[in-house]
């Protein structure tokens, strides 16, 4: 298994002197192809900092961040933006869709920004919408869709093209429990198909969809579950 994402000794400090706050302190962490990793921890533990740094939206004060072997900290702002368009997909709690664009246009956007022709970008977008089961809503605007449908569009946008790293920040936060589970099922399916996923959540029930669960507290990884094979407590349901 190759690491799609690798954080090595990442420290992120805000402010200086007496006002200095360590959001992350020496965090090392990897997500491999085919793996979904959940990150849990109380508010202020550094979960979101970890994700914004992994996604190249913020840079660490110390340490390195590699995505598919490319060190993001060695790139300039332009290089990081290119990595975000080509390699990293982001899913937010609030969906963050552009309201004036249809579902297909929202999903095609990163491809078009990357210089792909409108036609090729649309066909990639339709394929991604099909993968999340809402190809028939391609020409709807976000306002005409339910929360669950909007989050599916956001997931399609995160996976469109050949992006292999998906970062999800509380993606189920605004959804009811059953719709939330559908979103997890989609993330899980994408990882089973070879992507690497990082899921930040405060809900244990959602974190349990991951292969590994990393616990953060005060910017430090304090524990990890599932690094050893998960012990089977129950057998499969007996066949009738």
């Amino acid at each position: 298994m190759s690491a799609v994402l690798r954080l090595s000794g990442v420290t992120r400090t805000h402010g200086t002197g007496a006002a200095e706050v360590h959001a992350l302190q020496g965090v090392s962490f990897a997500a491999h192809a085919g793996e979904l990793v959940a990150v849990m921890g109380p508010s202020g533990s550094g979960k979101s900092s970890l994700l914004t740094i992994a996604g190249g939206l913020d840079s660490p004060t110390e340490g390195s961040v590699e995505v598919e072997g490319v060190d993001l900290t060695a790139l300039g702002a332009t290089g990081r933006a290119r990595m975000r368009r080509t390699s990293i997909g982001y899913v937010f709690q609030g969906f963050n869709l552009v309201p004036a664009l249809t579902a297909a246009e929202n999903v095609a956007l990163p491809r078009e920004l990357d210089g792909e022709s409108a036609r090729a970008a649309r066909s990639a977008a339709l394929a991604a919408l099909d993968e999340v089961g809402i190809a028939h809503l391609a020409d709807r605007f976000p306002d005409d869709m339910s929360g669950g449908q909007q989050q599916r569009v956001a997931i399609a946008r995160a996976v469109v093209g050949s992006r292999r790293l998906i970062l999800a920040d509380e993606p189920t936060g605004a959804l009811d429990s059953e719709t939330g589970e559908e979103v997890l099922r989609l993330l899980r399916a994408r990882c089973d198909a070879g992507a690497a996923g990082v899921l930040v959540t405060h809900e244990a029930r959602h974190a349990a969809w991951a292969d590994r669960v990393v616990f953060l507290r005060d910017g430090v990884v304090v524990d990890e579950s599932g690094s050893a094979p998960v012990e089977r407590l129950l057998d499969e349901r007996p066949a009738r």
């Binding site: 099922r185 089977r232 349901r237």
Partner: protein, 210 residues
């Protein structure tokens, strides 16, 4: 709960043999609460004695071990018992002894226990269990039998989640208590020695002797 009511409820569908009752019970609840076949036969004997089931005519045979095989069906009283079960809530009795709650209650009061480490280890273990239930849930399909099994799994999932939330809560409370103890210790240190100008109460003999 005794298996008595579960067996009666299954017989509501159709008359069944003992081994069949066991298979049907496990098909619905998975291997969560394994039932041995001896327990099924003992229960059926008792239910027959109490007039809740009776032998169903026909289709008698013999099992491989020579034990006679009998199909059972509900009596009218048995049917009433099932109806009553499905129309009344399960009683919330005295909570069962919960080893984890007892262990934490003792850990925070017995000296020398690293409560933080204990909570952390427990949370990892509970999380691992939750991952296992979720793995099974992901595979459950959409048929009626799968619905029953999937709901049983959900029950385990929600219970494990509640346990993890409670452990998080314990950790927050324990850390806050430790901090407050620290602060009280600090302020006590800062106010001693007491300023001489402040009126002090007459020291007791014990304190004066310090």
């Amino acid at each position: 709960m005794s298996v008595k009511l579960a067996l009666l409820a299954l017989l509501e569908t159709e008359p069944m043999y003992g081994y069949q009752l066991r298979t049907e019970f496990e098909a619905r609840t998975g291997s969560t609460w394994p039932l041995n076949v001896g327990q099924v036969y003992t229960t059926l004997t008792r239910l027959e004695r109490d007039g809740l089931v009776e032998p169903a005519p026909g289709a008698e045979g013999a099992e491989a071990d020579g034990q006679s095989q009998q199909r059972y069906r509900l009596t009218d009283r048995g049917r009433e018992e099932v109806a009553a079960w499905f129309t009344t809530p399960v009683a919330r009795t005295q909570p069962a002894r919960d080893e984890l709650a007892i262990k934490i209650a003792l850990a925070v009061t017995v000296p020398g226990v690293d409560v933080g480490a204990l909570l952390q280890r427990q949370r990892t273990a509970s999380m691992t269990a939750l991952q296992d239930y979720t793995r099974l849930k992901r595979r459950a399909g959409d048929t009626d039998g799968d619905l029953a099994w999937s709901l049983v799994l959900d029950s385990l999932v929600f219970a494990a989640e509640a346990e993890i939330r409670w452990l998080d809560h314990c950790e927050t409370r324990v850390r806050r208590a430790a901090r407050e103890r620290g602060e009280r210790g600090d302020s006590a240190a800062a106010t001693t020695p007491q300023p001489a100008t402040q009126p002090v109460e007459q020291p007791t003999e014990q304190e004066a002797g310090r």
